[in-house]
């Protein structure tokens, strides 16, 4: 038993190969397994309840397994992209390309909303342009592996892919626009007066075993935190799956309702929850006939902009810059909502 537990440390590569094989094998048998469970329950397989239960017993392990795998891999990838390295990559670059880089790096750099301010100041201090810093700050929470995995597992790769592309575009363009507005003077004075630092990098090189441990840590932290939300989301999905969906939401969140997108975004801006917490709501809204663009715009505005984050950012930004930030990002999300509704 002890040898088994020490495997990730002693033979990290071997461990990863074995773990991936077991994962793949398990993933293959999820459907038969869920059928087997339902067969052994005292319900009729073809009844509504039977079909709902089968969906639940298939979807729950599927989503949790996908999430665990992605979080594990991203945890290891994250260990290559510390905030310090990201800053060194972005420092001194010109806008445009740097906005694209910042938005993309936002996906792979580990980020917690409570780190937003230290990160923000750290970037600005090292000479990363303000607009580029914003590109990073918008993309990091909004386009993340948890949101993408859940969208993929529950609504398919097209929805996940569109979310990724649109999210990146919002981050790149909003950051670029804020950069164009030359709002450096709307940083709080103490931020502007901080001594400039050079973006140096003391590279503590990690071994593969260390990175595997980082992966474990993020699985513990993230999957441990989000699984209840996922269960609720799937339970809602299963309930709807088994019973006939109604078009309850279609009348006011459907495609034909032109004001649905801006209103959803306005409601979503002050709200705050993480990517997993919003999934049950997304699931329920979609199943009740709400348009995908409207729902995804709502989801983006909840994750990307929130009242608690604004309160923290207020310590470093003057009100006008905060208002500009909210305005530019919210407009971007509204636009994306309309585009989604138009193309899907």
């Amino acid at each position: 038993m002890n040898r088994l537990f020490s495997l990730p440390n002693k033979q990290p590569l071997l461990f990863l190969i074995i773990a991936a094989s077991i994962w793949l094998a398990l993933y293959q048998v999820l459907i038969p397994l869920s059928e087997l469970i339902v067969q052994n329950l005292p319900v009729e397989r073809n009844s509504r309840l039977g079909s709902a239960l089968q969906f639940f017993f298939y979807d729950t392990p599927k989503v949790l397994m996908l999430l665990t795998a992605v979080v594990m891999v991203m945890g290891m990838v994250n260990s290559y992209f510390t905030p310090e390295r990201t800053r060194a990559l972005l420092a001194g670059r010109h806008e445009g390309v740097a906005n694209c880089m910042a938005a993309s790096l936002g996906i792979v750099t580990p980020f917690c909303s409570c780190s937003a301010v230290p990160l923000f100041i750290g970037f600005v201090q090292a000479g990363v342009p303000l607009g580029v810093t914003f590109s990073f700050l918008i993309s990091a929470p909004m386009v993340n592996e948890v949101a993408l995995t859940l969208l993929f597992a529950m609504f398919g790769w097209k929805v996940a892919g569109l979310y990724l592309m649109m999210g990146l575009m919002i981050a790149i363009i909003s950051g670029w626009v804020i950069g164009r507005l030359n709002m450096e003077e709307h940083l709080e004075d103490w931020v502007r007066n901080m001594p400039k630092v050079s973006a140096t990098l003391d590279d503590a090189s990690l071994t593969l075993a260390d990175r595997v441990q980082t992966g474990f840590a993020s699985v513990r932290e993230i999957v441990g935190k989000v699984w209840p939300y996922i269960l609720v989301g799937i339970a809602i999905g299963a309930g709807i799956h088994g019973y006939v969906p109604e078009d309850f939401m279609a009348s006011f969140m459907g495609k034909d309702v032109w004001w649905a997108v801006p209103v959803s975004v306005l409601i979503g801006v002050p709200m705050y929850t993480n990517a997993a917490g919003i999934i049950p709501i997304v699931e329920a809204l979609l199943a009740k006939g709400a348009a995908l663009g409207t729902v995804l715009a709502f989801m983006m505005s909840v994750i990307a902009l929130s009242l608690p984050e604004m309160i923290i950012l207020r310590k470093v930004l003057k009100p006008r810059l905060i208002a500009t930030f909210i305005g530019v990002v919210a407009s971007g999300i509204i636009l994306v909502g309309y585009v989604f509704n138009a193309v899907l």
Binding site: T82, P83, E84, R87, P110, C112, S113, C114, S115, V117, P118, L119, I121, G122, F123, W190, M194, V197, Q213, A217, E221, I312, K315, V316
Partner: protein, 76 residues
């Protein structure tokens, strides 16, 4: 007597870090003074980019996320 500071703006991870440090220091019987630094200007003076961070006797020993248990044990 070790002088420990936990830097963080008061999020859940920061609180968990404070608790973890307290627990392990107690379990190991090490005497510490623990201070929470929540003021953002004071935090930035340490030149870190991710919180929570831990400072022991003026030295930054950790930044970003809740430290692993083994790492905290190594400090005492």
């Amino acid at each position: 007597m070790k002088e420990i500071k936990v830097l963080g703006t008061g999020c859940a991870n920061c609180k968990a870090t404070v608790k973890l440090v307290e627990e392990i220091a107690k379990a190991k019987g090490v005497e510490i003074t623990l201070e929470k630094v929540e003021d953002i200007q004071k935090i930035m003076a340490y030149n870190i980019m991710s919180t929570p961070a831990v400072v022991i006797d003026g030295q930054i020993v950790h930044a970003g996320g809740i430290p692993a248990k083994g790492k905290v044990e190594g400090w005492f």
